[in-house]
Every structure is written in structure tokens, then in C-alpha cells.
């Protein structure tokens, strides 16, 4: 019951924050609200017995990634210039987006409600997880079953870093001057 109550509260917070992300004019506020959303999601993860995910949600996502966002916003000094101020060139964009979003919600809601889940039940019940420990379990899986994707992920990050460096290198400006 407590779980339910917590879910409702956190869920509402999440939704409100998410809406704020979308509708805040200032990008920096959007970023803050996004962080807030992520944190509330982390709470929900805990409720779902995914403590490790909850932890990295806060640390990596809300912490690292979003800091990067905020940093870029600051760097480009975007908080002052309101890019949304001008007239929207696409007249039908907003209403159609809202309508489509609404339909999407309804569809997903209906689908979720109508689906009878009969997927194969795994071995990791909350009880067994809490016995071994969530983090340990994740670690174990990462090094056994998911070792290959894990390695790939490293390459992915490597590629991303290279890419980011290539694109953001200062040299560009010099090139332009020359």
C-alpha cells in the first residue's frame, strides 16, 4: 500500500517535472527539471527493486550526463537568448504534436491495459535478488552473459569520445581563419 502511495506521488512528480522540461522557456530550467525527473525515476527504480540502476541513474544520468547539458548551456550562454520567442514557422506543428502525443498516450495505455503478460518468468524474484544483492547480480551478468555487449559498449563510448573531440576541437576556428 505504501508502495502504491509512493508510486502515485513520485509518478505525479515525474510527470509534472517532465511537462516542465517540455514547457519551460529557459533551457537551464528544463535541464533542472529533467534532473528532477530522473531523480524521481530513480526512486521508482528503487520501488521496483532495481537499486543498482537507481544508483547509476542518479550518479551517471542525473549527475554526469545532465551536468554536461548544463555545462553546454552555460558555455553557449543559451539561458539568456530565448530561441522560442519568435513566431513559430510551422503552424500546425504544435497542435498536431499535442494531438499525436495524446493519441500515443492513449494507445500505449490501452495496449498496456489489454495485454495479458505471459512472458517466461525468470529466476530472479525480488527475494532471490535481495539475497544475492542487486549490484552483485548485475555485475555477474555483465561479466558472464553480457560480456560481449559490455565490451562493445566500451568501444561505443570510445567512438563517441573520438567523435566528440573531432567535432568540438578548437582547431575549427583556426581552420576558418586560415
Amino acid at each position: 500500500m505504501l508502495e502504491g502511495l509512493l508510486f502515485i506521488i513520485m509518478g505525479l512528480i515525474t510527470i509534472v517535472c517532465a511537462l516542465c522540461v517540455v514547457f519551460q522557456k529557459n533551457p537551464i530550467y528544463s535541464a533542472i527539471f529533467l534532473i528532477q525527473t530522473m531523480v524521481s525515476l530513480a526512486v521508482l527504480y528503487v520501488l521496483l527493486h532495481a537499486q543498482f540502476i537507481a544508483a547509476i541513474q542518479v550518479m551517471v544520468y542525473a549527475g554526469a550526463i545532465m551536468v554536461l547539458f548544463v555545462f553546454v548551456i552555460m558555455l553557449l550562454d543559451l539561458s539568456k537568448t530565448d530561441v522560442e520567442a519568435g513566431r513559430d514557422n510551422l503552424l500546425f506543428q504544435k497542435p498536431s504534436a499535442v494531438i499525436l502525443g495524446f493519441i500515443l498516450v492513449v494507445m500505449i495505455g490501452i495496449v498496456t491495459l489489454k495485454t495479458v503478460f505471459q512472458g517466461t518468468k525468470g529466476e530472479y524474484t525480488p527475494e532471490s535478488i535481495s539475497q544475492i544483492g542487486n549490484t552483485q547480480l548485475v555485475g555477474k551478468m555483465l561479466f558472464t552473459k553480457y560480456v560481449f555487449p559490455f565490451e562493445i559498449a566500451s568501444i561505443l563510448l570510445f567512438a563517441a569520445i573520438i567523435g566528440a573531440i573531432v567535432l568540438a576541437k578548437k582547431q575549427i576556428i583556426e581552420d576558418k581563419k586560415v
Binding site: Q93, S96, M107, V111
Partner: protein
């Protein structure tokens, strides 16, 4: 000299064809380099030899038993496809012999005449090439042993006619007239081709002998197929022989050189239709209805053309209409079943009409190309020989005994009366009156009265050279004597041709008792027709010699009728307005509207629509990222909804 190196002249029938062909090829290929004299010699020799050969063939044929006077020779299979077979083969029988004699004989004379007549022309060798080619085609036409081969000749003469009418191609009227001749002939050929096909489908063969042999068994008397075959054939004949309604090309054909008019458009080619009808007499006899049609068309044409002849002022045109009219007589004869009479008139007509044309050619030659009779007159003293021969021809055509035309025309009228009806006779008789009138009108206007020539012309008027006069004289002789081959009661031509009629040995048709009319009727008819002719002549004399101002008065009185007749009943104009112009107009509509606007427009419209769609779809590519995302989301939502709800 009946045998030539051991073989009968009949076997040499192919050479009759070969020489003109050789003449054509030699003159055609080398003529440009040869002198005019040589060209003329080659042309004439080729025909001359042909004539001689034909004569010997005739002799050889005479030697045979009358019932078996048929000789066939096959050279090679021309077209053979499945059951259809057309053989290149020749057939000699009395009918074709008569025809080749006329063709080569008259043809030779005209060739000789042409040497003088065409001497100053640049296209001399071309002329002789065509003329030889014509002779070849005409001989092929009459000698062919099947319908399709005959059709080659049929079209071949048409081609030559086209070429010769348009001989002076720089004259627009000449080239147009040639084209008109060919196209109108094609209309006739349309019928001919269909007839051949129908014959093939009916008899499974197109060979003359086989078809005529099988016809009486195959076809019911008066059956639909028989009528269709004969009518379709007759369409061909109408085209070639210039009968109503396809006669209009012949007067225009006078744009060609005069000897051509004499040979092709008077003596030989135009009578091919008559020949064809006579050739197919077996079929015609099986289709009485068709015969009636033939007779009526012939009779009406005879009269109709004669009326037009009354008011024409061009000397050659008058002759042309008279040709149309005379051929009408021939068809009239055929139509009443008197095929031999038709051929008889064909032969005599060949003589006197060739004579008349050549005579007129002599006049034109002498006058330096003038053809309008109103600008002639009084030529008697300038061109006596021409005048004499012309007079003979005129008398012959008018039907004054004992000239050739009298016998044949009289017989036509007699047959029309005895075997046909009073109506047909009346048509013929009235036409005869008119013929006598307009022919003498021509004679009087040209040779009598006071000269209407311009000073310049008058100074240069001269009698024609010998090469022109000799053929005239020969033809005049023939016009006088030619009639006697068909002398009533002792008709040589009649007995000679009799086997051909009714399929020869199938004497079920009344070929033999052609002349079972009472002598009294015969003589009274003779009297009447002579009377008619004399009446016509007198009338002409009255109007054009005695009281030259009478015609003008009459014209004033009957202005409407005169205008109509003068303008040839406006037939050309009517054809132009009802057939030619609408066709061209329709074609323009088809091209400019159906083709360009509708079909092509449709095609281009599709292309345009495709492109437009591209242009429109392109606009969805707005360049805005958000918009692209919208289309992704939209597509996604639609897919999800459809996959869940619709499918």
C-alpha cells in the same frame, strides 16, 4: 511461218510480254545516254515485234479446233502460302488474242506517232520507257491466267497511266491529275482485291480456268456470293474504265501527252474493265442482278458523259467524255449479256478513238499546244490529211455506215433492245444522238468556219510530219474497215469469240445464239440508229456552221442547264466537298486533336502529373527537423493504430 524453230508460236507467248519489258529496261536504264532516235526505235521495235508475234499467235490459235482454242503456260509459282497459290502463267484464248492484237497493234501505231509528236520533249526516253512498260502491263493484264496476275497488270497500267498523265510533272494540274487517276483507280481496286479474295475463299483457287469451270456448280444462279463477286469485280472495272461514279479522273487525265490519251485513255487501258467483265462472263451470267447493274451503269454513263461532252470546249476533254460514254456502251452491251458485242465495240472504239485522239493531237501539235476549240476553226485548209482522217473517225463514232462504229454501236443498241429493255435502248439511242452532235460540233468548230486563232498561232499552223500522219492513215483505214469483222449475220468476231463466252466448252449460256433476232428488227434498228446519227450531225451543222450565233442564244435561254453541263454537273466539286475535303478535315482533326491533344496529351499529362506529384511531395520536405520528427511520429502512430485496430 507457223512454227518457229520447231515450237508453236503459242509457246512463245511469253516473248510478247518480254519485248516490251526489255524495251522498258533498256530505255529506262540506258535511255538517258542514247539518242532520241535510238530510243524511239527501241521503243517501237519492241512493240512491233510483239505485234508480229501476237499476230502469229493469233494464226496459231486459229489453227486449233474452235472448242479448244485455249492455251495455258505456267512459269513459276508466284505466291504460294498454304492453300493459296498464285501462279505466274499466261493464257491464250480468242479473247486475249483479240486484246493483244489491239494492244500491240494500236500501241505500235501510237509509238510510231509518238516519235514525231514527242520529238522536242526532254523526257523522250522517259516517255518511251513508260509507254513500253504500259504495253507490258496491259499485255500482262490480258494474258494473265489468274486473277492476281491480272491484278498486277491492272495496277501496272494504272501506274503507267499515273506516270504518263503526270508526264509533264512540272505542271501542277498534270501531276494532280495523275494522282487523281491513281487514287480513283485504287478505289476500284479496292473492290477488285476484295473480289479476288472472295473468289479465293469461294473456289479455293484464283485460276481463271478452274474458277470458271467450277463456278456453275459452286454457285447458285443469282446467289449472294455470285452477286458479291461480280459486283466487286465491277467496282474494279468502274474504276479502271471510268464509269459512274468513278469516271472523274479520265477527263483530267487529258493533261498527259496526247498519244498517251489515245493509247491509254481511249484505246486500251480504260477498256480493261470491259475486258475483265467479259473474261468473267461466266460469273456475271450467274448473277443477273449484277448484269442489270452493269447495264444500267453503262447506259447511264453513256448518256451522262455524252451530255457533258456537249458543252466542253477543250478538244481533248470532249474526246475524253466521249470515251467515257463509249465505254458506257460497252458495259451496256455486257450488261445485257452481249459480251461479244462489248468486245466488238471495244475493238472498233480502239480504232476510231485512237484515230480521233491522234488527230486531235495532230491539231494541237500543229497549233503549238492550243487545245481550246474556241481558238481554232477553219483548219481544214491548213491540215487536210488530218482533217480527212478526223472526219472518218468522227463519222465512225457517230455511227454512220459503213464506218466501224456503225456496226458495233448498232449492235449494242440492238442487243440493248432485244435482250435488255426499251429503257436501256433509249439511253443508248439518246446518247448516240448526242454523240453525233457533239462530235460534229467538235469537227465543225475545229476545221470549219472562220479561224479564231491568234495571229501568232496562225502563222505557224502546219500539217504534221509523216510519223504522225501515217498512223492516222492506218487508223483511218481501220476505222473504215474495222466494222466488217462484226458484220451482221456474218460476224467473224462473233464466231471467233463464242467459245470464250460461257466458259467455252460449257455452252450452257446463250453465247451461240447471240443473234437470234429477226432480220427485220435488225434492219429497222439499223435504220433508226443511222437516222439518229444523221439527225445529230444535222443539228450540229445547223448550229455551228449555218447559224454560228445560235449556240450563244441557246445558252442564254437555258442558262441554268448550260451552266450545269458546262461545269460537268459539278461532280468534281461535289466529290471534293463530300469526300476529299471532309477526309482531309477529319485527318487534320485526328492529327491535331486526337493524336496531339488527346492521346499525346494524355501521355504528357501523366508525365506532368507524376512530376507535379513530385513537386508537391517535395514541399513536405520542409527542412525543419521538428517537422521531420513530426512525420516520424505521425507515421508511427498511424502504423500502431492501424496494426492494432484495422488489421
Amino acid at each position: 511461218m507457223p512454227y518457229f524453230f520447231g515450237c508453236s508460236y503459242l509457246d512463245l507467248i511469253g516473248y510478247v510480254l518480254l519485248f516490251p519489258l526489255a524495251g522498258t529496261i533498256i530505255n529506262g536504264l540506258l535511255g538517258k545516254k542514247l539518242s532520241k532516235f535510238v530510243v524511239g526505235i527501241i521503243g517501237c521495235t519492241a512493240i512491233g515485234i510483239s505485234f508480229i508475234l501476237s499476230f502469229f499467235v493469233f494464226i496459231d490459235l486459229l489453227k486449233l479446233d474452235p472448242e479448244h482454242r485455249v492455251f495455258e503456260i505456267d512459269y513459276f509459282t508466284w505466291i504460294g502460302s498454304g492453300s493459296f497459290e498464285a501462279i505466274a502463267g499466261l493464257q491464250v484464248d480468242p479473247l486475249s488474242v483479240v486484246m493483244i492484237l489491239v494492244v500491240t497493234g494500236v500501241g505500235f501505231l501510237i509509238h510510231v506517232y509518238s516519235i514525231g509528236y514527242m520529238h522536242d520533249d526532254d523526257g523522250f526516253y522517259r516517255y518511251f520507257t513508260y509507254l513500253n512498260l504500259f504495253t507490258f502491263s496491259m499485255l500482262l493484264l490480258v494474258l494473265a491466267n489468274n486473277f492476281l496476275l491480272m491484278f498486277i497488270g491492272w495496277e501496272g497500267v494504272g501506274l503507267c497511266s499515273y506516270l504518263l498523265i503526270g508526264f509533264w510533272f512540272e505542271k501542277k494540274s498534270a501531276s494532280t491529275a495523275g494522282m487523281k487517276a491513281f487514287i480513283v483507280n485504287r478505289v476500284g481496286d479496292f473492290g477488285f482485291i476484295l473480289a479476288i479474295m472472295l473468289i479465293f475463299v469461294t473456289f479455293k483457287t484464283i485460276d481463271f480456268t478452274e474458277v470458271f469451270h467450277a463456278a456453275p456448280e459452286h454457285l447458285q444462279m443469282g446467289s449472294f456470293v455470285a452477286i458479291m463477286i461480280t459486283l466487286l469485280l465491277f467496282v474494279g472495272a468502274v474504276g479502271k474504265s471510268a464509269q459512274i461514279p468513278l469516271y472523274t479522273w479520265l477527263p483530267d487525265a487529258m493533261e498527259g501527252p496526247t498519244p498517251v490519251s489515245a493509247l491509254i485513255h481511249a484505246a486500251t487501258m480504260v477498256t480493261a474493265g470491259v475486258y475483265m467483265v467479259v473474261r468473267c462472263n461466266v460469273l456475271y451470267t450467274l448473277a443477273p442482278f449484277s448484269l442489270t447493274v452493269v447495264a444500267v451503269i453503262g447506259g447511264v454513263t453513256a448518256l451522262f458523259a455524252a451530255t457533258i461532252g456537249l458543252a466542253q470546249n477543250d478538244i481533248k476533254r470532249v474526246l475524253a467524255y466521249s470515251t467515257v460514254s463509249q465505254i458506257g456502251y460497252m458495259f451496256l452491251a455486257c450488261g445485257v449479256g452481249a459480251y461479244i458485242t462489248g468486245i466488238f465495240h471495244l475493238v472498233t472504239h480502239a480504232f476510231f478513238k485512237a484515230l480521233l485522239f491522234l488527230g486531235s493531237g495532230s491539231v494541237i501539235h500543229g497549233l503549238g499546244g492550243e487545245q481550246d476549240m474556241r481558238k481554232m476553226g477553219g483548219l481544214k485548209k491548213y491540215m487536210p490529211t488530218t482533217y480527212t482522217t478526223f472526219l472518218i473517225g468522227t463519222l465512225a463514232i457517230a455511227g454512220i455506215p459503213p464506218f466501224a462504229g456503225f456496226f458495233s454501236k448498232d449492235e449494242v443498241l440492238l442487243d440493248a433492245f432485244s435482250k435488255g429493255s426499251l429503257f436501256l435502248w433509249a439511253l443508248g439511242a439518246f446518247a448516240a444522238l448526242l454523240t453525233a452532235f457533239y462530235m460534229f460540233r467538235l469537227l465543225f468548230m475545229t476545221f470549219y468556219g472562220k479561224s479564231n486563232m491568234s495571229k501568232h498561232v496562225e502563222e505557224h499552223v502546219h500539217e504534221s510530219p509523216m510519223s504522225i500522219l501515217i498512223p492516222l492513215l492506218v487508223l483511218a483505214l481501220l476505222s473504215i474497215l474495222g466494222g466488217f469483222i462484226g458484220f451482221p449475220t456474218a460476224s467473224a468476231i462473233n464466231s471467233f469469240l463464242a467459245p470464250v463466252i460461257g466458259g467455252g466448252h460449257h455452252g450452257m449460256i446463250d453465247g451461240g445464239d447471240l443473234h437470234h433476232v429477226s432480220n427485220s428488227l435488225m434492219f429497222s434498228m439499223m435504220g433508226i440508229s443511222t437516222g439518229i446519227a444523221v439527225a445529230g450531225i444535222l443539228l450540229a451543222y445547223l448550229m455551228y456552221v449555218k447559224q454560228p450565233d445560235l449556240p450563244a442564244k441557246l445558252v442564254g435561254k437555258f442558262k441554268l442547264i448550260y451552266t450545269i453541263i458546262y461545269n460537268k454537273y459539278y461532280v468534281d466539286e461535289i466529290y471534293d466537298a463530300t469526300i476529299v475535303k471532309p477526309t482531309v478535315k477529319t485527318s487534320f482533326i485526328l492529327w491535331k486533336i486526337v493524336d496531339v491533344k488527346i492521346i499525346d496529351g494524355f501521355v504528357n499529362a501523366i508525365a506532368r502529373i507524376v512530376e507535379l506529384k513530385g513537386e508537391v511531395l517535395k514541399l513536405f520536405q520542409t527542412g525543419y527537423v521538428r517537422n521531420y520528427a513530426l512525420s516520424i511520429l505521425l507515421g508511427g502512430v498511424i502504423i500502431i493504430v492501424c496494426s492494432l485496430v484495422l488489421l
